[in-house]
Symmetry: C2
Subunit: 323 residues, 2 copies
């Protein structure tokens, strides 16, 4: 389909093709981008109706924002800076026009905010349901992998934890309107998560390992421990929280600690850093917190609180089982 180009070009023209990096954007067989001397980072993530979003409480603009945000988070989690995005949408014909418009109304401002050019667009008919894939390309001179954590490193997080899961609970229980009125910040954390783009770029050169918290903190800690073959010990009382979050969790009958450890879709960043580098890194990041340490012992994740030590179970947030 080539007619689609016109629709997508119109919808994305607000996004500045300013980046002298784009030689040819949407409209030819493929995009042409200037090469990079550093490393290229590439990732793809899908949002599927009925699995990753529910149109009863998600607007098309929320979906557009989120589809880009989750990929920006993956690029940030490599210590890289996102540059380009390609978007593929499959949507039932009857909904195509309004969905695609709304989708880009959410995606475009986020793209503009971080200087991302939309360089590829695909629009297909879907017989059933809406499917979105976004791919993001970024660059870095020093990628930070999951494998670099070493004994003695501190374990830190940047970005709120548990907010998105709390927002999801509120949206499901109360519906969009009431949930937004009562628990706005947490609903927005679910519907329009803020990827840690600046923090990701700051962590490059400082963090020894890095991962984004898309599946829940305990699950990501387990990934990090396994990939780096190290033991991690965290103190859950060090996980940043706030009275408003604790209160909202109580009102909704949720355990705030469980939300922070097992709730998904926060898109915070989890990292390790040499102890001596923590002070200067913290100044750069602003709001990061240390929640634990990499210690001697068999790979795994342990929780230490008030002198008691127990294994932390990795309860992944798995879209093949949920929602």
């Amino acid at each position: 389909m080539n007619g689609e180009f016109e629709i997508i070009r119109r919808l994305t023209r607000a996004v500045p093709s300013a980046g002298s990096r784009v030689i040819v954007g949407i409209g030819d067989d493929a995009a042409v981008l200037r090469g990079t001397q550093g490393s290229l980072v590439a990732t793809v993530d899908a949002l599927v109706e009925g699995v990753h979003f529910d149109l009863r409480y998600c607007m098309p603009s929320d979906i557009g924002h989120r589809a880009l945000a989750v990929n920006l988070s993956d690029v940030a989690a490599m210590g890289a800076t996102p540059r380009h995005a390609l978007v593929s949408i499959a949507v039932p014909t009857a909904k195509a026009n309004s969905f695609v418009k709304g989708f880009y109304r959410g995606l475009s401002p986020l793209a503009r905010r971080y200087g991302i050019d939309i360089v590829g667009g695909n629009l297909s008919r879907s017989p059933n349901g809406i499917f979105v894939d976004v791919m993001v390309l970024g660059e870095t001179t020093r990628a930070v992998l999951r494998t670099g954590a070493r004994v003695g490193d501190l374990v830190g997080v940047v970005g709120p934890l548990g907010h998105a899961a709390l927002g999801l609970r509120a949206l499901r229980r109360l519906g969009r309107k009431k949930a937004l009125a009562a628990y706005g910040p947490f609903c927005r954390a679910q519907l329009r998560p803020t990827p840690q783009v600046e923090a990701g770029a700051q962590l490059s050169g400082w963090a020894t390992s890095l991962i984004d918290v898309s599946d829940g903190l305990s699950s990501e800690l387990a990934h990090l421990a396994r990939a780096s073959r190290v033991q991690i010990e965290i103190d859950p009382t060090l996980i940043p929280t706030m009275p408003r979050f604790e209160r909202a969790a109580a009102e909704l009958g949720m355990d705030p600690r469980a939300l922070q450890l097992a709730g998904g879709e926060d898109y915070a960043l989890l990292f390790t850093v040499r102890e001596k580098n923590w002070a200067p890194l913290r100044r750069r990041l602003g709001s990061a917190a240390v929640i634990g340490r990499v210690c001697e012992g068999r790979p795994g994740v342990w929780c230490s609180e008030g002198g008691r030590r127990r294994r932390l179970s990795a309860r992944a947030f798995d879209h093949f089982r949920s929602p």
Copy 2:
């Protein structure tokens, strides 16, 4: 979902991560690839069940092959060499295991053949139907756009035309088994198209404009004429054909000329070239043919045959209307 990594890694491990271009493949938050001094080319294309394929006559392996092939064709149509692919699949849980295995059984050999590394993989649950997005990254030192055709250039094609549309007709009418037995080469052109990867790389530096024939020749000629703002005149009797194709079309009650002009999904390449460069280019390409010329006049496409001249209508092969 991180468990998916293991499945996808196992399925793609036959693909050599030989390219020293891959620093980190599947398994971290994003792939890390060596930068390129030339230009980077990026494209995405979707295959949707019930729109782009029908499981009554497509095997999962056909879909895997085709999902990669259509993107390799787009990269070739920029005069670029494909290097990396990212794959996103959404599939109903009950079919996931067998579909994903079959899909990679078709995709992996094609990736190996052209040295493509699968550097990103995403697997989601789909409530209804199968959705596949493949993104391919390539590189070139000289991209060939749709905009470079000039008066006096010859218009050429490389790759068979009409075969895929004939195969589709046979598959729909006879079912997979009988169609493959009676019209094997044409069914395979539909189910497992051969992207013109080598030809695309050869055309860089020679062709003045280039596009792939995914939507039918007449429609792609119209795109080329519009993008380059030129008039194109073709002689349809010059379009390469073969007795077996003519015979099969007759047996299936199809006009072979109409199949060649309007049939989609051939993934041949359509290009323009300075007349003086045609002889050396032809030697490099092997089997290309000249079918017309860029001439003076208002932008558009004309058909000239036996002294008669008529406008060629661009009947696009549009997935929002078909199948």
